[in-house]
Every structure is written in C-alpha cells, then in structure tokens.
Symmetry: C2
Subunit: 469 residues, 2 copies
C-alpha cells in the first residue's frame, strides 16, 4: 500500500494537538533515544519512524489518528516496546503513537473488584497498586517490570499465572478504543457477563494494534491470594518433566504456576543473575511449581499431593522454597531466562503452544529439528499451558543460515505444533516476524475473514500496517 509522506505542516498540526515537547523527530532528540522508538525486544530489528507523537489522552489520540486517516499516514501504536514479535515496529515509517503519557490508574473500585486504567501503566505498577488494597491482577508476563498494560492487551500476553488464572484477555471487561477513523468507542460494559452484540472487546484484544488504539481499560480483579508455596523439581529426563505436567492436573491440582526450564535455561539465567545454584550433572530439566490460596495448611496438603505425583517420575530431590527470598530468587531465575539468553547471543524466540500433554512430543521435535538443521535452542516456558518458548541461539550460525536458512526448520516446528492441535503463538502475537508462517496455522478462509474485519475497522489501512497478515 502506498502512503503519503509526512509534511512539515502535518508535524505542526501534531504539535498543536500534543504540544511541541511531545512531537519527537530524529532532528530533535538524541539519536539513541530516537532509535529506541524504532525497535522492541524482537531480535535485532529496527525501523525508523518519521515522527513520534506522545498524546496525553483519548481526545488527543483521536485528533492525531483523524489527521493520519485523512492524509493517509501509517500509525503504529506503541507501548513500552517489550514485544517479542515486532508488533510495535513502524515498518512503513510514518507516525509512532506512543502511549507512555497515558499512564494513569484512574480508579481502583474496591466495591466491584474492578479497576480503570490507561494503557501506558506498567503491569507491575498496576499489580502493586491493587495488591495494596488486597486485590489481585494475575497476568504477569516476564517483562512485567517494564511492559505496559496496553501492550499486554494488544499481544494477548500471558505469563506464569495463566495456568490457573488465565491470560490478559480474561481480565478485560471493557475498553475505550480510538478507531482508525478517529472515532472513540467503548467495546463493552463494566460487567462480568455480557451477551449484548458481537464481542468487540475480545476481537480487539490480541489484534496487535491493527484495529485501533486502546486508550482506557476496565479490568476485573480477584481477592489477593495471601499464601503461596514454591517447589522446584529437578528431572533427569526433560521428557519425563514434560509428562509429569499433565499428571499434576489429573490429580486434581491446579497450580498457580507450572513452569518448565531446560538445564541450559536455568544455568544461563542463574549465572546471569549471579545466583548460585548447584545442579547435579545428570539433571536435564526443572519444573517450577507454585501453589497459591488463602490458607497455608491447605497449600501444604496440595504440596503433598504434588510430591505424590512427582515421586512416580525420575525426579531428584525437590526443593520447597519457604522463605520470601528463596521464592524471589527462583522466580527471578525463571523470569530472566530471556534476558540471559539475549545477553549471551542474538536469538530468535518461537512462542510454540500445544495441548499440555503434547509438550514432551513437542520438545523432542524441537531438538530433533535442531540437530537436523544444525542449531542449538534453549527451551523453557509455561508448561501448564503447553506454551514452550523455543530460543534459537545464533551462536556460530552464518548470515545466510540466520536470515534465510532457519525459515524451513521454523516451518517444520510450527507444522509440528499444528499437527499436535497447537498453534504458532501462545502469547507473543504474530506481529512482523511470524507473519510468513501464519498460513501454517490459519487457513485462507479464516485469513479472508480477518482481512475483511480489518477492512471494516480500517478501510484506509493506516493502523499498524504490515502486521499479522
């Protein structure tokens, strides 16, 4: 699609809307600050925006979008830029619309266990704010300390708690959205149930900024679970670890976290964080199992039931973390695997997901494909959800292999996921980098429906163009 070029007159109009201080161009700000608006956490990709605009409210977003609609300028909505599929990259240049100033927690409604926030609130800031009044917002992507809630919605983020509590989409009751035409709408109602027309809320969640700009979110919250226990179970066989995952659920237990880490994942991350961890030579993988609730006695009972399940597998001594510091260390190790891998090497992250009992088969497949094509991978992820993050390590791979040679093995990997009843992204989105593979998971008829929906929302194709399909 051909877009118009930004003119000085348009820049002046943006300035009139948001103020000069919030219209950034390459000429006005330091090169590295500006460059940051052109990248996210996806590999080493970079695309320069023509201009970065930082509105302060929905009305300003609407005015900016209206101008872009009229003049046919691409708009790429951007949260904190922690995405892993390139969803926030301005690949057609134009306007990067940063939500960083839409960062207010507007209301925490303790009577209704709801909260209204702007999209630029950092996930962990929000979690802490509601925790202070005894409430719980479960979704916790690994980047929770820096990512924005708006980005979490756009990419349908998950995190370790999803296995018991569901993903971001399960906590969104209602959204205010600026459509590509500039119209401002609410997608639903502030209720736990809604059978009133098509579910625009869920249609927009996970649409990766291609259907509109989220400007306000109403979340549902839960009572905060006051107690938790954390277990680390070391396995001599990674496939046994993957198999044990299903057995835990079959025993009637729904853990609040059930994470899988290959030996390399836990090793790299503990080294990166400088947290000493003695790993017997024959340990190949770990399960990190969290139980939560309001009653500690009850959790110890559940922990016993988990032990009883794990005993049936070839598991080494299980660590029960019972101090806050110990729990914190283990979660930090888990959360920093991605950072540790990034610290060691450029990598591509595949966000594979299958029904949970198929995890062992998926893991075997990953390693088999890697050995056949000659690449190493570090695997870890949300085993309880069947969501395995496969980090393909660049290591010694040459440019040809890295940029083109990996496409075929990735195709094979995704075909394996689909053949197991899974798909090609569990919580990172398609964005830019998985776009070539979407046809493996989604047929032409479905893609045509999605294209049709895109056309209904965005007839001029200005909103985050070039993403998903």
């Amino acid at each position: 699609m051909e877009y118009q070029v930004l003119t000085p007159s348009l820049i002046a109009q943006f300035e009139a809307i948001v103020g000069e201080a919030h219209v950034l161009t390459a000429q006005r700000v330091e090169a590295d600050v500006y460059a940051d608006y052109g990248r996210d956490h996806t590999e080493d990709l970079h695309f320069a925006p023509d201009v970065v605009v930082r509105p302060a409210n929905a009305e300003e977003v609407s005015q900016i979008v209206r101008l872009c609609y009229e003049y046919h300028i691409p708009v790429t909505p951007r949260g904190a830029g922690t995405g892993l599929s390139g969803g926030a990259l301005p690949i057609h240049h134009g306007v990067v619309l940063s939500t960083e100033r839409l960062n207010r927690i507007i209301e925490i409604d303790e009577r209704n266990l709801q909260a209204t926030v702007e999209p630029g609130v950092v996930t962990e800031v929000f979690q802490n704010a509601v925790k202070e009044v005894g409430l719980f917002y479960p979704p916790d992507p690994a980047s929770k300390g820096s990512c924005f809630l708006g980005g979490n919605l756009s990419e349908s983020s998950g995190g370790p708690k999803a296995v018991k509590y569901g993903v971001t989409k399960d906590y969104v009751l209602n959204m205010q959205v600026v459509l590509p035409t500039g119209e401002i709408i609410w997608t639903g109602a502030n209720t736990l149930k809604n059978a009133t027309g098509y579910n625009l809320t869920q249609l927009l969640i996970g649409s990766e900024g291609t259907l509109g700009v989220i400007t306000r979110i109403v979340f549902k919250l839960l009572p905060y679970p006051q107690q938790n226990l954390l277990l680390l179970a070391p396995f001599r066989d990674e496939n046994e670890a993957a198999t044990a995952v299903s057995a835990i659920f079959r025993a009637g237990i729904v853990p609040s976290g059930l994470e899988f880490m290959e030996r390399e994942a836990i090793e790299w991350s503990s080294r990166y964080l400088n947290i000493p961890l003695s790993l017997p030579a024959d340990i190949r993988a770990h399960l990190l199992i969290e139980l939560d609730g309001q009653d500690l006695d009850q959790l110890y009972k559940e922990a016993e039931a988990v032990y009883a399940v794990l005993e049936k597998y070839d598991v080494d001594e299980i660590l029960l973390a019972d101090t806050a510091a110990q729990k914190d260390d283990l979660w930090r190790i888990r959360r920093n695997i991605g950072n540790a891998v990034r610290y060691n090497s450029v990598y591509k992250e595949e966000d594979t997901v299958v029904p949970r009992a198929e995890l062992a088969t998926l893991l075997k497949g990953v390693k088999e494909i890697g050995s056949r094509y000659g690449f190493n991978s570090v695997c870890y992820g949300h085993a309880g959800d069947g969501n395995l993050h496969v980090n393909i390590i660049r290591g010694e791979l040459d440019d040809e292999m890295w940029h083109r040679g990996l496409q075929e093995p990735i195709r094979e990997l995704f075909r394996l996921c689909v053949s197991l009843g899974g798909t090609i992204s569990g919580e990172h989105g398609i964005g830019l980098v998985q776009k070539p593979y979407i046809g493996i998971a989604i047929g032409e008829a479905q893609l045509n429906l999605m294209r049709g929906i895109k056309q209904v929302f965005d007839p001029r194709g200005i909103m985050n163009p070039g993403k998903i399909f």
Copy 2:
C-alpha cells in the same frame, strides 16, 4: 431484505442431502411437533419455518447452507429451543436448521483436560460424562437438563457457577463452524493460549447464529471439585441482601455460586415443585451461597468466613445444607424459578446486568419503575455477577400495556443498567426481543462495526436474519 421462496425442487435437494426423514414440513409431521420448531422459551412468540432440516454432520450442514446461500433462503440455526431472547425463532421463515442430530461427544481427552463435542449435546449430559472421569465443565444454565451446548455458545450462556468459573465462552478453545457461504472452518487451536490472529472464536461466541453454524466444539475442562457446601441466608431487606454480595468478595472469598432470590421467586418455585419451605413473614429475600473445592475442612473454614460477613447484616437464621438431598432441593428451587413464573403467568424476562456492587441500586430501580408504570416483577439471579433476571408478570395487564406499554419502562430499566456501568443482557442475548433496545447499550459506531462484520461473514444476509441489530 427480500428472500426467495422455498421451492419443491429445493426441498428435494435437502432430502438428497439429509434423507427424507430429516426434512420436516407442516404437511409431514404433527402440528404440535412442527409448531415447536417455531418457538423457544421466549414469551409466547411463534414463527413458522417453511421447512425444518436436520443434518447429521458438518458436511451436510455445509451443503444445506450452500444451497440457501445460492438461492437466498434464510437459515435459522436451532439448538434445543430453550433460548430466552428469541434467537432461534425463524422470523423470516425459510429453513430452520436443527442441530439435534449433531449430538455426539466425540472425545473426552483426559490427558489434556479437553473434550470435543457436537453442538447438539445436552449440557447436563456433557457435564455428567466428564464428571464420570473426574472432570468438570462448569457452565450450567438453568435449562441445563434440556439445552444444547451449541445454543449455550451462541447466546453466551452463564449460570450460577459463572461467578467463580466464568461463562460458556471461557471454556471454548476452538470451534468448527460452517460459514454462511458453506465453507467449513476451525476458529482457533486446541490450546489454552492463542495469540495467532484475530480471535474468531470469541467473535463467534455470542453471535447468536448470525455468523455461522457451529458444528463442533473443543472445550477445556477442570478437575472436578469433589466437595461443596451450600448456605441459604434469609434477609429481612432485599437491598441488604444485594449489598452483602460485594462484602463476601471483599472478605477474600470467591463462592462457586452466589444467587439472589426475592421472596416471591423462592415462594413460587417451592410451591411449583411442592418442596415445603417455611418462610418467616418478614423475610424479603435470600442469598444462596455455594462453596466448592477439594477439601471439606477448607470449605468449613470458608463457610465460617461467610457467616462472619453475613452477621453484619440483618439476616435471619442461615441454613447450612449438608445432605445431598437438601442441596438438591435448594438448587432445584433456584433453577425452577423461571418455570414457576411461566406456570403462573405469561411474563417478559429482562436479563439485566451491572457491576455487582450496584445490584441494590438496580433492584430498587426495578421496583420503583414497576410501581410507577403499574406492573409486578419477580427478581432473582446471579448476584455474584451482578446479573439480575427481572420477570415482568403479565398478570392483569391488558394487551395494549403488554405489547406496547411496557416498552417505555423497559427502556428506563435498561438506561438505569447502562448508567450503572452495566448492559441489557448478561447471558440471554439480544436475539429478537431485545433488538429494539440495543441502541441504549451500544452506540451507532459500534453497531456499524458489527454490521460490517456481519457483512464480511454473510454478504447475502441469509444466516439468522433479523436478529441483534
């Protein structure tokens, strides 16, 4: 929209697809059997189909729909006909496509806690089948003994367990759907997480059969909670009962059921079922509170916490049902309120929903509007979700009042819901009867998006025409 008239040649083609025995016309079957295909549980409405076709599989559905698409014949998908908004009524006549023969439970996957079923399976039959292997399918609309799962999806059904476990949509991982063009698609993947393109699954759920015919469903399941306790708390003031609801959650308790019943609701239903219940004269309302889990000791602790909350209100003696028979009686009373009201009088049921703490305000509003316009109502419903079913009793109302005079008070009622952050249907859908009111809850911009989506899926407008908007 103008549709074509059914011809004998088309009927013959339907017969070739599904067999003569499964093409029903007014001439071929008994009048009352045939008439049933033209009504559901919504008031006393009836619309005669030109023909009822009963396909046995997705391929047959596809062939029927293709013909209707080609010849421009309306298709109204129909489950068990227990809907409360008229979603399954063939208001433009044409074909009623009954899913009654698509009634197989195809697989219960115990490894993955998933099941694959056809849409014509009765909800309770499915619940019992998964319970037999220790699994739990929570959604339980009041009509669970006769309604179909496909209808539950189409109308976004809830039920008492929704307060803890969510509604039907929260258990659907994937669906096979025949589009209005006859194409057969799957909407997602069999995974707990999916960030792969627009969420067609959630877009289709609650679309009331206007975007396609569901022919297969993949559900997620939970471990079956082995224990439960049931409490019946009688209040002298119905607004106190509604207020206590919020307080229970604020105390950190998430009940598996939290139902509100006005005095008349519980009285009518117990009389209808012939279950004796002694109700002190000053009791105005009840809360029915269920707690569930794997550990009975834990539930008694939670019950104590509930008592501690309720003691702060003007509550009479709380009944703790501890035998299966007692629990069953209480739930039957709750479930049969709708039937009891229907037995007493024609009624209109409004499916109002607000944030749960606004329930007392809503209830007051209902009574105030009723007394101003001169009608009686029986109110009950899922208080934990803020979902109040308002049954407006025909009683002595004349035709003019019943058919036209109630529109203005219903408008007022719905405007009150929306002003409280709620909407006009929580779990029954818009269907036919709430269509005149949709503009109260949904703005023109959103309706235009929905119309656009409808056009993408169904360019010839054959699929359940005349519903929602």
